[in-house]
Protein backbone atom coordinates (compact mmCIF):
# COMPACT_ATOMS: atom_id res chain seq x y z
CA UNK A 1 0.00 0.00 0.00
CA UNK A 2 1.54 3.27 -1.15
CA UNK A 3 -0.38 5.23 1.52
CA UNK A 4 1.72 3.59 4.24
CA UNK A 5 4.67 5.61 5.48
CA UNK A 6 8.05 4.45 4.23
CA UNK A 7 11.29 6.38 4.08
CA UNK A 8 13.67 6.50 1.12
CA UNK A 9 17.20 7.88 0.87
CA UNK A 10 17.72 10.96 -1.29
CA UNK A 11 19.60 9.71 -4.35
CA UNK A 12 20.35 13.04 -6.01
CA UNK A 13 19.91 16.76 -5.30
CA UNK A 14 19.80 19.40 -8.04
CA UNK A 15 20.34 22.99 -6.96
CA UNK A 16 18.52 25.33 -9.35
CA UNK A 17 19.65 28.43 -7.48
CA UNK A 18 19.76 29.75 -3.93
CA UNK A 19 16.88 28.18 -1.98
CA UNK A 20 15.45 26.16 -4.88
CA UNK A 21 16.28 22.46 -5.10
CA UNK A 22 14.97 19.23 -6.58
CA UNK A 23 15.23 15.93 -4.68
CA UNK A 24 15.32 12.56 -6.39
CA UNK A 25 14.17 9.28 -4.79
CA UNK A 26 14.32 5.70 -6.07
CA UNK A 27 10.78 4.54 -5.62
CA UNK A 28 8.10 3.33 -8.01
CA UNK A 29 5.25 5.84 -7.99
CA UNK A 30 2.14 5.23 -10.08
CA UNK A 31 1.29 8.92 -10.49
CA UNK A 32 0.36 11.51 -13.09
CA UNK A 33 0.97 15.24 -13.30
CA UNK A 34 -0.91 17.24 -10.67
CA UNK A 35 -0.87 14.47 -8.08
CA UNK A 36 1.22 14.93 -4.94
CA UNK A 37 3.13 13.00 -2.30
CA UNK A 38 3.37 13.66 1.44
CA UNK A 39 6.98 14.20 2.39
CA UNK A 40 8.06 13.50 5.98
CA UNK A 41 11.24 14.99 7.32
CA UNK A 42 11.80 12.97 10.53
CA UNK A 43 11.80 15.16 13.63
CA UNK A 44 10.40 18.10 11.67
CA UNK A 45 7.03 17.84 9.91
CA UNK A 46 5.24 16.35 6.91
CA UNK A 47 4.06 18.42 3.92
CA UNK A 48 2.46 17.79 0.52
CA UNK A 49 4.61 18.27 -2.62
CA UNK A 50 3.70 17.95 -6.29
CA UNK A 51 5.68 15.44 -8.29
CA UNK A 52 7.87 17.34 -10.77
CA UNK A 53 9.37 14.40 -12.65
CA UNK A 54 8.80 10.69 -12.75
CA UNK A 55 10.48 7.62 -14.22
CA UNK A 56 9.83 3.89 -14.09
CA UNK A 57 11.53 3.53 -10.72
CA UNK A 58 12.12 7.07 -9.47
CA UNK A 59 10.44 10.35 -8.69
CA UNK A 60 11.47 13.92 -8.13
CA UNK A 61 10.02 16.75 -6.07
CA UNK A 62 11.06 20.39 -6.28
CA UNK A 63 11.20 22.64 -3.24
CA UNK A 64 11.59 26.36 -2.69
CA UNK A 65 12.76 27.55 0.75
CA UNK A 66 9.76 29.35 2.16
CA UNK A 67 8.81 28.29 5.71
CA UNK A 68 10.66 26.30 8.40
CA UNK A 69 10.06 22.94 6.69
CA UNK A 70 11.25 23.85 3.19
CA UNK A 71 14.16 25.81 4.66
CA UNK A 72 15.21 22.70 6.63
CA UNK A 73 14.96 20.71 3.38
CA UNK A 74 17.73 22.89 1.94
CA UNK A 75 20.24 21.43 4.43
CA UNK A 76 19.58 17.81 3.42
CA UNK A 77 22.33 15.72 1.84
CA UNK A 78 22.32 12.77 -0.53
CA UNK A 79 21.62 9.65 1.58
CA UNK A 80 19.36 11.41 4.11
CA UNK A 81 16.05 9.59 4.44
CA UNK A 82 12.62 11.17 3.89
CA UNK A 83 9.18 9.63 4.13
CA UNK A 84 7.37 9.64 0.79
CA UNK A 85 3.77 8.41 0.71
CA UNK A 86 1.23 8.73 -2.02
CA UNK A 87 0.41 9.56 -4.75
CA UNK A 88 -2.66 11.47 -3.60
CA UNK A 89 -5.27 13.53 -5.39
CA UNK A 90 -6.49 13.96 -8.93
CA UNK A 91 -4.30 14.65 -11.96
CA UNK A 92 -4.58 17.08 -14.89
CA UNK A 93 -6.56 15.89 -17.93
CA UNK A 94 -4.91 15.90 -21.38
CA UNK A 95 -5.74 18.43 -24.08
CA UNK A 96 -4.25 19.63 -27.35
CA UNK A 97 -3.40 23.28 -28.21
CA UNK A 98 -2.90 24.06 -24.55
CA UNK A 99 -1.23 26.88 -22.65
CA UNK A 100 0.70 26.04 -19.47
CA UNK A 101 0.90 29.01 -17.08
CA UNK A 102 3.36 28.49 -14.23
CA UNK A 103 4.36 30.86 -11.44
CA UNK A 104 7.42 30.28 -9.25
CA UNK A 105 7.63 26.82 -7.70
CA UNK A 106 4.21 26.16 -9.29
CA UNK A 107 6.23 25.35 -12.39
CA UNK A 108 7.07 21.98 -10.73
CA UNK A 109 3.79 20.09 -11.41
CA UNK A 110 3.65 21.62 -14.91
CA UNK A 111 7.08 20.13 -15.65
CA UNK A 112 5.61 16.63 -15.32
CA UNK A 113 2.50 17.69 -17.27
CA UNK A 114 4.68 19.08 -20.09
CA UNK A 115 6.50 15.77 -20.24
CA UNK A 116 3.25 13.81 -20.40
CA UNK A 117 1.70 16.07 -23.07
CA UNK A 118 4.83 15.87 -25.16
CA UNK A 119 4.88 12.06 -24.87
CA UNK A 120 1.26 12.06 -26.11
CA UNK A 121 2.23 14.33 -29.00
CA UNK A 122 -0.17 17.05 -27.84
CA UNK A 123 0.94 20.56 -28.70
CA UNK A 124 1.29 23.26 -26.09
CA UNK A 125 2.79 26.65 -25.36
CA UNK A 126 4.37 27.61 -22.02
CA UNK A 127 4.16 30.89 -20.15
CA UNK A 128 6.39 30.81 -17.10
CA UNK A 129 7.04 33.51 -14.54
CA UNK A 130 9.03 33.89 -11.34
CA UNK A 131 10.40 36.58 -9.08
CA UNK A 132 13.89 36.12 -10.46
CA UNK A 133 15.96 34.00 -12.85
CA UNK A 134 17.06 31.24 -10.45
CA UNK A 135 13.44 30.49 -9.48
CA UNK A 136 12.66 29.60 -13.09
CA UNK A 137 13.15 25.84 -12.93
CA UNK A 138 13.22 23.28 -15.77
CA UNK A 139 13.22 26.04 -18.41
CA UNK A 140 15.29 23.95 -20.84
CA UNK A 141 12.69 21.14 -20.69
CA UNK A 142 9.82 23.55 -21.38
CA UNK A 143 11.78 25.12 -24.26
CA UNK A 144 12.44 21.67 -25.69
CA UNK A 145 8.85 20.37 -25.44
CA UNK A 146 6.75 23.52 -26.01
CA UNK A 147 5.83 24.95 -29.38
CA UNK A 148 6.79 28.31 -27.84
CA UNK A 149 8.00 29.24 -24.37
CA UNK A 150 7.36 32.72 -22.98
CA UNK A 151 9.22 33.80 -19.86
CA UNK A 152 8.73 36.67 -17.43
CA UNK A 153 10.56 37.67 -14.24
CA UNK A 154 9.60 40.37 -11.75
CA UNK A 155 13.12 41.78 -11.85
CA UNK A 156 13.82 41.30 -15.56
CA UNK A 157 16.77 38.94 -14.87
CA UNK A 158 15.44 36.55 -17.52
CA UNK A 159 12.79 36.90 -20.23
CA UNK A 160 10.47 39.87 -20.17
CA UNK A 161 10.26 42.00 -17.02
CA UNK A 162 6.75 41.82 -15.56
CA UNK A 163 4.01 39.30 -14.72
CA UNK A 164 2.67 36.30 -16.64
CA UNK A 165 -0.69 38.03 -16.89
CA UNK A 166 0.57 40.98 -18.95
CA UNK A 167 0.80 39.28 -22.35
CA UNK A 168 -1.59 36.45 -21.53
CA UNK A 169 -4.49 37.50 -23.76
CA UNK A 170 -2.32 38.25 -26.79
CA UNK A 171 -0.53 34.89 -26.41
CA UNK A 172 -3.87 33.06 -26.20
CA UNK A 173 -5.00 34.75 -29.40
CA UNK A 174 -1.73 34.40 -31.31
CA UNK A 175 -1.23 30.74 -30.38
CA UNK A 176 -4.93 29.81 -30.88
CA UNK A 177 -5.09 28.28 -27.39
CA UNK A 178 -7.98 25.88 -26.65
CA UNK A 179 -7.15 24.78 -23.10
CA UNK A 180 -5.32 26.38 -20.19
CA UNK A 181 -3.43 24.78 -17.29
CA UNK A 182 -2.21 26.90 -14.39
CA UNK A 183 -0.15 26.25 -11.28
CA UNK A 184 1.45 28.77 -8.98
CA UNK A 185 0.53 31.34 -6.36
CA UNK A 186 -3.24 31.60 -5.90
CA UNK A 187 -3.09 35.35 -6.37
CA UNK A 188 -1.54 34.78 -9.83
CA UNK A 189 -4.33 32.37 -10.70
CA UNK A 190 -7.03 34.80 -9.56
CA UNK A 191 -5.67 37.37 -12.03
CA UNK A 192 -5.38 34.75 -14.78
CA UNK A 193 -8.95 33.65 -14.06
CA UNK A 194 -10.29 37.22 -14.38
CA UNK A 195 -8.71 37.46 -17.81
CA UNK A 196 -9.71 34.06 -19.18
CA UNK A 197 -13.20 33.60 -17.71
CA UNK A 198 -14.81 35.82 -20.40
CA UNK A 199 -13.08 33.79 -23.18
CA UNK A 200 -14.92 30.52 -22.48
CA UNK A 201 -11.69 28.54 -22.75
CA UNK A 202 -11.78 25.55 -20.40
CA UNK A 203 -9.03 25.39 -17.80
CA UNK A 204 -7.56 23.50 -14.86
CA UNK A 205 -5.78 24.96 -11.85
CA UNK A 206 -3.62 23.08 -9.35
CA UNK A 207 -4.46 24.32 -5.82
CA UNK A 208 -2.60 24.29 -2.54
CA UNK A 209 -3.97 24.09 1.00
CA UNK A 210 -2.63 23.12 4.41
CA UNK A 211 -3.21 19.40 5.01
CA UNK A 212 -2.88 17.00 7.91
CA UNK A 213 -3.77 13.64 6.35
CA UNK A 214 -3.68 13.80 2.52
CA UNK A 215 -6.22 10.96 2.45
CA UNK A 216 -9.52 12.79 2.66
CA UNK A 217 -10.47 12.58 6.31
CA UNK A 218 -9.03 15.44 8.38
CA UNK A 219 -11.08 18.16 6.68
CA UNK A 220 -8.35 20.82 6.86
CA UNK A 221 -8.15 21.35 3.08
CA UNK A 222 -11.90 21.46 2.41
CA UNK A 223 -12.94 24.45 0.28
CA UNK A 224 -15.85 26.82 0.92
CA UNK A 225 -18.64 26.57 -0.23
CA UNK A 226 -18.54 23.40 -2.31
CA UNK A 227 -17.09 21.34 0.55
CA UNK A 228 -14.65 19.49 -1.73
CA UNK A 229 -11.29 18.28 -0.43
CA UNK A 230 -8.15 19.57 -2.15
CA UNK A 231 -6.41 16.26 -1.32
CA UNK A 232 -9.05 14.00 -2.92
CA UNK A 233 -11.30 15.95 -5.31
CA UNK A 234 -8.28 18.21 -6.07
CA UNK A 235 -5.63 19.47 -6.14
CA UNK A 236 -6.48 19.97 -9.83
CA UNK A 237 -9.85 21.67 -10.31
CA UNK A 238 -11.55 22.72 -13.55
CA UNK A 239 -13.47 25.92 -14.26
CA UNK A 240 -16.83 24.40 -13.27
CA UNK A 241 -15.54 23.06 -9.96
CA UNK A 242 -13.94 26.42 -9.17
CA UNK A 243 -17.22 28.27 -9.72
CA UNK A 244 -18.41 27.03 -6.34
CA UNK A 245 -15.18 27.92 -4.54
CA UNK A 246 -15.90 31.21 -2.81
CA UNK A 247 -12.63 31.32 -0.83
CA UNK A 248 -10.42 31.42 -3.94
CA UNK A 249 -7.81 34.13 -3.50
CA UNK A 250 -9.47 35.23 -0.25
CA UNK A 251 -8.70 32.88 2.64
CA UNK A 252 -7.17 29.55 3.46
CA UNK A 253 -6.93 27.63 6.75
CA UNK A 254 -3.98 27.14 9.07
CA UNK A 255 -3.16 24.10 11.22
CA UNK A 256 -5.84 25.03 13.77
CA UNK A 257 -8.46 25.42 11.06
CA UNK A 258 -8.74 29.19 11.50
CA UNK A 259 -9.30 31.23 8.35
CA UNK A 260 -6.20 33.17 7.36
CA UNK A 261 -6.52 36.08 4.95
CA UNK A 262 -2.98 36.29 3.62
CA UNK A 263 -1.81 34.70 0.40
Amino acid sequence: MSDLMRTYPIKKIVEHGPGVKSFYFERMLDARAGQFVNVWLPGMDEKPYSVSALGENWLEISVKAYGPFSTAMMDLKVGDRLGVRGPFGKSFTYHDRALLIGGGIGIAPLRLLAHELSAKKLSFVSLLGAATKHELIFIEDFQKWSKNCYITTDDGSQGKQGLVTEDLLSIIEKEKIEFIYAAGPEIMFVKVKELIDPLDIPYEFCMERYMKCGIGICGQCVLDDSGVRVCVEGPVFNQDELKEVTELGMVHRDASGRRVKKF
Binding site: M1, D3, L4, M5, R6, T7, N38, W40, P42, G43, M44, D45, E46, K47, R81, G83, K212, C213, I215, G216, I217, C218, G219, Q220, V222, L223, D224, D225, S226, G227, V228, R229, R253, D254, A255, S256, G257, R258, R259
Partner: protein
Protein backbone atom coordinates in the same frame (compact mmCIF):
# COMPACT_ATOMS: atom_id res chain seq x y z
CA UNK B 1 -38.06 2.50 6.70
CA UNK B 2 -34.52 3.56 7.45
CA UNK B 3 -35.44 6.88 9.08
CA UNK B 4 -34.85 6.78 12.80
CA UNK B 5 -35.86 8.69 15.88
CA UNK B 6 -33.08 9.34 18.34
CA UNK B 7 -34.00 11.21 21.54
CA UNK B 8 -36.03 14.14 20.18
CA UNK B 9 -34.41 14.00 16.73
CA UNK B 10 -35.44 12.60 13.37
CA UNK B 11 -32.64 11.24 11.14
CA UNK B 12 -33.09 10.03 7.56
CA UNK B 13 -30.88 7.04 8.41
CA UNK B 14 -28.85 5.87 11.45
CA UNK B 15 -25.41 6.86 10.13
CA UNK B 16 -23.58 9.73 11.80
CA UNK B 17 -20.33 11.38 10.74
CA UNK B 18 -18.01 10.67 13.68
CA UNK B 19 -16.13 13.49 15.34
CA UNK B 20 -12.69 14.31 13.98
CA UNK B 21 -13.49 13.44 10.36
CA UNK B 22 -14.40 16.19 7.87
CA UNK B 23 -16.06 18.14 10.68
CA UNK B 24 -14.14 21.39 10.62
CA UNK B 25 -16.47 23.51 8.47
CA UNK B 26 -20.11 23.83 7.52
CA UNK B 27 -19.24 23.29 3.84
CA UNK B 28 -17.46 20.04 4.62
CA UNK B 29 -20.25 18.64 6.81
CA UNK B 30 -22.89 19.81 4.31
CA UNK B 31 -21.19 17.75 1.61
CA UNK B 32 -21.04 14.70 3.91
CA UNK B 33 -24.84 14.95 4.17
CA UNK B 34 -25.67 15.96 0.59
CA UNK B 35 -23.17 13.82 -1.32
CA UNK B 36 -22.28 11.25 1.33
CA UNK B 37 -25.77 10.55 2.63
CA UNK B 38 -25.05 10.82 6.36
CA UNK B 39 -28.08 10.91 8.66
CA UNK B 40 -26.35 13.39 10.99
CA UNK B 41 -22.92 14.95 11.44
CA UNK B 42 -20.61 15.56 14.39
CA UNK B 43 -18.21 18.51 14.41
CA UNK B 44 -14.54 18.17 15.11
CA UNK B 45 -13.99 18.46 18.87
CA UNK B 46 -13.44 22.05 19.92
CA UNK B 47 -12.72 24.00 23.07
CA UNK B 48 -12.47 27.67 24.01
CA UNK B 49 -9.29 28.84 22.28
CA UNK B 50 -7.83 27.73 18.97
CA UNK B 51 -5.15 25.04 18.93
CA UNK B 52 -2.79 23.96 16.15
CA UNK B 53 -2.57 20.42 17.53
CA UNK B 54 0.43 18.18 16.96
CA UNK B 55 2.77 18.57 14.01
CA UNK B 56 2.55 16.15 11.10
CA UNK B 57 2.71 13.23 10.62
CA UNK B 58 -0.50 13.24 12.64
CA UNK B 59 -2.61 10.70 10.71
CA UNK B 60 -1.12 7.44 9.43
CA UNK B 61 -2.67 4.49 7.66
CA UNK B 62 -1.48 1.00 8.65
CA UNK B 63 -2.67 -2.34 7.33
CA UNK B 64 -5.80 -2.55 9.50
CA UNK B 65 -6.75 1.04 10.23
CA UNK B 66 -5.46 4.48 11.02
CA UNK B 67 -3.27 5.78 13.81
CA UNK B 68 -3.82 9.43 14.64
CA UNK B 69 -2.57 12.07 17.03
CA UNK B 70 -4.03 15.25 15.63
CA UNK B 71 -3.93 16.70 19.14
CA UNK B 72 -7.41 18.26 19.26
CA UNK B 73 -6.51 21.00 16.79
CA UNK B 74 -9.47 23.33 16.29
CA UNK B 75 -10.14 26.97 15.39
CA UNK B 76 -11.70 27.74 18.78
CA UNK B 77 -15.29 28.18 19.86
CA UNK B 78 -15.98 31.50 18.08
CA UNK B 79 -15.28 30.00 14.64
CA UNK B 80 -16.98 26.69 15.42
CA UNK B 81 -20.17 28.35 16.65
CA UNK B 82 -20.31 30.23 13.33
CA UNK B 83 -19.80 27.01 11.36
CA UNK B 84 -22.58 25.26 13.30
CA UNK B 85 -24.86 28.19 12.48
CA UNK B 86 -23.96 28.04 8.79
CA UNK B 87 -24.55 24.29 8.68
CA UNK B 88 -27.98 24.67 10.24
CA UNK B 89 -28.95 27.24 7.61
CA UNK B 90 -27.74 25.12 4.73
CA UNK B 91 -28.40 21.48 5.64
CA UNK B 92 -31.44 19.64 6.91
CA UNK B 93 -29.66 16.91 8.91
CA UNK B 94 -29.01 17.22 12.67
CA UNK B 95 -25.61 18.43 13.81
CA UNK B 96 -23.86 17.23 16.97
CA UNK B 97 -21.31 19.57 18.55
CA UNK B 98 -18.29 17.75 19.96
CA UNK B 99 -16.82 19.71 22.84
CA UNK B 100 -13.93 19.33 25.25
CA UNK B 101 -12.18 21.35 27.95
CA UNK B 102 -8.93 21.26 29.82
CA UNK B 103 -10.73 21.91 33.10
CA UNK B 104 -14.22 21.45 34.50
CA UNK B 105 -14.67 25.24 34.29
CA UNK B 106 -13.77 25.23 30.62
CA UNK B 107 -16.35 22.47 29.98
CA UNK B 108 -18.94 24.77 31.59
CA UNK B 109 -17.90 27.78 29.53
CA UNK B 110 -17.70 25.87 26.24
CA UNK B 111 -21.13 24.34 26.92
CA UNK B 112 -22.69 27.75 27.58
CA UNK B 113 -21.26 29.23 24.40
CA UNK B 114 -22.03 26.20 22.22
CA UNK B 115 -25.66 26.09 23.33
CA UNK B 116 -26.10 29.55 21.74
CA UNK B 117 -25.50 27.96 18.32
CA UNK B 118 -28.31 25.48 19.03
CA UNK B 119 -26.70 22.22 17.91
CA UNK B 120 -29.02 19.22 18.03
CA UNK B 121 -26.84 17.40 20.55
CA UNK B 122 -23.73 18.02 22.60
CA UNK B 123 -21.18 15.24 22.40
CA UNK B 124 -18.73 15.54 25.26
CA UNK B 125 -15.26 14.26 24.45
CA UNK B 126 -13.70 13.08 27.72
CA UNK B 127 -11.71 10.29 26.11
CA UNK B 128 -9.19 11.68 23.59
CA UNK B 129 -6.09 9.48 24.07
CA UNK B 130 -3.65 11.92 22.43
CA UNK B 131 -3.17 14.85 24.77
CA UNK B 132 -1.84 13.17 27.93
CA UNK B 133 1.41 15.10 28.00
CA UNK B 134 -0.46 18.38 27.90
CA UNK B 135 -3.75 17.69 29.72
CA UNK B 136 -2.79 14.78 31.97
CA UNK B 137 -5.04 11.72 32.20
CA UNK B 138 -8.30 12.07 30.25
CA UNK B 139 -11.35 12.90 32.42
CA UNK B 140 -12.88 9.74 30.99
CA UNK B 141 -10.30 7.58 32.77
CA UNK B 142 -11.85 8.43 36.14
CA UNK B 143 -15.37 7.74 37.38
CA UNK B 144 -15.48 10.86 39.56
CA UNK B 145 -14.11 13.19 36.85
CA UNK B 146 -16.54 11.77 34.29
CA UNK B 147 -19.38 12.36 36.76
CA UNK B 148 -18.28 15.96 37.32
CA UNK B 149 -17.99 16.75 33.61
CA UNK B 150 -21.39 15.18 32.90
CA UNK B 151 -23.02 17.12 35.70
CA UNK B 152 -21.56 20.48 34.70
CA UNK B 153 -22.34 20.08 30.99
CA UNK B 154 -25.90 19.00 31.76
CA UNK B 155 -26.30 21.99 34.07
CA UNK B 156 -25.51 24.41 31.23
CA UNK B 157 -26.91 22.51 28.25
CA UNK B 158 -30.54 23.54 28.79
CA UNK B 159 -32.85 21.54 26.55
CA UNK B 160 -30.05 20.28 24.28
CA UNK B 161 -29.39 16.57 24.84
CA UNK B 162 -25.94 15.49 25.99
CA UNK B 163 -24.01 12.38 24.96
CA UNK B 164 -20.76 11.49 26.71
CA UNK B 165 -18.12 10.00 24.42
CA UNK B 166 -16.26 7.23 26.24
CA UNK B 167 -13.22 5.12 25.45
CA UNK B 168 -12.65 1.45 26.23
CA UNK B 169 -10.00 2.30 28.83
CA UNK B 170 -9.89 3.38 32.44
CA UNK B 171 -12.22 1.88 35.03
CA UNK B 172 -14.37 0.10 32.42
CA UNK B 173 -16.79 1.56 29.93
CA UNK B 174 -19.94 0.08 31.50
CA UNK B 175 -19.19 1.63 34.90
CA UNK B 176 -18.35 4.95 33.23
CA UNK B 177 -21.60 4.87 31.25
CA UNK B 178 -23.58 4.19 34.43
CA UNK B 179 -22.02 7.22 36.10
CA UNK B 180 -22.90 9.36 33.06
CA UNK B 181 -26.51 8.16 33.19
CA UNK B 182 -26.74 8.83 36.93
CA UNK B 183 -25.52 12.38 36.35
CA UNK B 184 -28.10 13.14 33.70
CA UNK B 185 -26.48 12.17 30.38
CA UNK B 186 -29.05 11.61 27.63
CA UNK B 187 -26.88 9.24 25.58
CA UNK B 188 -23.49 7.52 25.38
CA UNK B 189 -21.13 7.60 22.42
CA UNK B 190 -18.95 4.47 22.45
CA UNK B 191 -16.10 4.33 21.60
CA UNK B 192 -13.30 6.83 20.99
CA UNK B 193 -10.06 5.71 19.32
CA UNK B 194 -8.21 2.91 21.09
CA UNK B 195 -4.75 2.73 22.58
CA UNK B 196 -2.76 4.79 22.24
CA UNK B 197 -0.63 2.88 19.79
CA UNK B 198 2.63 3.51 17.96
CA UNK B 199 4.18 2.92 14.54
CA UNK B 200 7.93 2.97 14.00
CA UNK B 201 9.81 3.56 10.76
CA UNK B 202 12.23 0.65 10.54
CA UNK B 203 14.79 2.50 8.44
CA UNK B 204 14.93 5.76 10.39
CA UNK B 205 14.22 3.71 13.57
CA UNK B 206 11.98 6.32 15.16
CA UNK B 207 8.25 6.60 15.94
CA UNK B 208 6.55 8.15 12.89
CA UNK B 209 3.84 10.26 14.55
CA UNK B 210 5.23 13.57 15.77
CA UNK B 211 3.42 12.83 19.05
CA UNK B 212 4.99 9.33 18.95
CA UNK B 213 1.70 7.73 20.08
CA UNK B 214 -1.82 8.03 18.73
CA UNK B 215 -5.32 6.59 18.84
CA UNK B 216 -6.15 3.54 16.71
CA UNK B 217 -9.27 3.56 14.54
CA UNK B 218 -10.63 1.52 11.65
CA UNK B 219 -11.25 -2.21 11.12
CA UNK B 220 -8.75 -3.19 13.84
CA UNK B 221 -11.00 -1.82 16.61
CA UNK B 222 -14.41 -3.12 15.48
CA UNK B 223 -14.47 -6.05 17.96
CA UNK B 224 -13.60 -3.67 20.82
CA UNK B 225 -16.40 -1.32 19.78
CA UNK B 226 -18.92 -4.16 19.52
CA UNK B 227 -17.99 -5.47 22.97
CA UNK B 228 -18.04 -1.97 24.48
CA UNK B 229 -21.50 -1.19 23.11
CA UNK B 230 -22.70 -4.62 24.29
CA UNK B 231 -21.51 -3.90 27.84
CA UNK B 232 -22.87 -0.35 27.93
CA UNK B 233 -26.27 -1.54 26.66
CA UNK B 234 -26.55 -3.99 29.58
CA UNK B 235 -25.70 -1.31 32.09
CA UNK B 236 -27.75 1.76 31.04
CA UNK B 237 -31.19 2.64 29.65
CA UNK B 238 -30.06 5.74 27.68
CA UNK B 239 -29.41 5.24 23.94
CA UNK B 240 -25.97 4.56 22.47
CA UNK B 241 -24.19 6.06 19.46
CA UNK B 242 -22.03 3.07 18.49
CA UNK B 243 -18.78 4.14 16.85
CA UNK B 244 -15.59 2.29 16.04
CA UNK B 245 -14.25 0.35 13.09
CA UNK B 246 -17.40 0.32 10.97
CA UNK B 247 -16.56 0.11 7.27
CA UNK B 248 -19.31 -2.27 6.03
CA UNK B 249 -23.07 -2.59 6.65
CA UNK B 250 -22.42 -5.90 8.46
CA UNK B 251 -20.21 -4.04 10.95
CA UNK B 252 -22.99 -1.53 11.61
CA UNK B 253 -25.53 -4.32 12.10
CA UNK B 254 -23.25 -5.92 14.71
CA UNK B 255 -23.20 -2.67 16.69
CA UNK B 256 -27.00 -2.38 16.47
CA UNK B 257 -27.44 -5.99 17.62
CA UNK B 258 -25.11 -5.13 20.51
CA UNK B 259 -27.37 -2.22 21.42
CA UNK B 260 -26.46 0.89 19.38
CA UNK B 261 -29.20 3.27 18.21
CA UNK B 262 -27.02 5.30 15.82
CA UNK B 263 -23.83 4.34 14.01
CA UNK B 264 -20.80 6.64 13.95
CA UNK B 265 -18.67 6.39 10.81
CA UNK B 266 -15.29 8.06 10.39
CA UNK B 267 -12.23 6.14 9.25
CA UNK B 268 -14.40 4.30 6.68
CA UNK B 269 -14.40 7.52 4.62
CA UNK B 270 -10.75 6.71 3.93
CA UNK B 271 -11.51 3.16 2.77
CA UNK B 272 -14.84 3.66 1.01
CA UNK B 273 -15.05 7.33 0.09
CA UNK B 274 -17.54 9.92 1.20
CA UNK B 275 -20.58 7.91 -0.02
CA UNK B 276 -19.93 5.25 2.63
CA UNK B 277 -22.81 6.67 4.72
CA UNK B 278 -25.36 5.96 2.01
CA UNK B 279 -23.84 2.53 1.29
CA UNK B 280 -24.00 1.47 4.93
CA UNK B 281 -27.52 2.87 5.42
CA UNK B 282 -28.72 0.88 2.40
CA UNK B 283 -26.94 -2.23 3.62
CA UNK B 284 -28.63 -2.00 7.01
CA UNK B 285 -31.98 -1.70 5.27
CA UNK B 286 -31.21 -4.73 3.12
CA UNK B 287 -30.40 -6.70 6.28
CA UNK B 288 -33.75 -5.76 7.84
CA UNK B 289 -35.60 -6.80 4.69
CA UNK B 290 -33.73 -10.08 4.41
CA UNK B 291 -34.97 -11.17 7.84
CA UNK B 292 -38.38 -9.54 7.64
CA UNK B 293 -37.83 -6.85 10.24
CA UNK B 294 -39.66 -3.59 9.76
CA UNK B 295 -37.59 -1.25 11.90
CA UNK B 296 -34.25 -0.86 13.60
CA UNK B 297 -36.01 -0.96 16.96
CA UNK B 298 -36.74 -4.64 16.35
CA UNK B 299 -33.09 -5.63 16.13
CA UNK B 300 -31.49 -3.25 18.62
CA UNK B 301 -29.84 -5.26 21.38
CA UNK B 302 -31.06 -8.55 19.93
CA UNK B 303 -27.69 -10.17 20.61
CA UNK B 304 -28.53 -9.98 24.32
CA UNK B 305 -31.60 -12.24 24.14
Amino acid sequence: MNSVRFLNLELKNPTVLASGILGLTASSMWRVVEVGGAGAVTTKSFNKDWRSGHKNPSILPFRHGLLNAVGLSNPGIDEMVKEIGKFKQRASAPIFASIFGRTIDEFAEVTQRTVEAEPDLLEVNVSCPNVHSEFGQPFGDSLSDTAKVTEIVKKHAGSIPVSIKLGPHGPGIARLAKVCEENGADAITAINTVGPGMLIDIDVRKPILSNKTGGVSGPAILPIAVKSVYEVYRQVKIPIIGTGGVTQPEDAVQLILAGASLIGIGTAVYYQGIKVFEKIARGIEAYLQKYGFTSLDEIRGLAHE
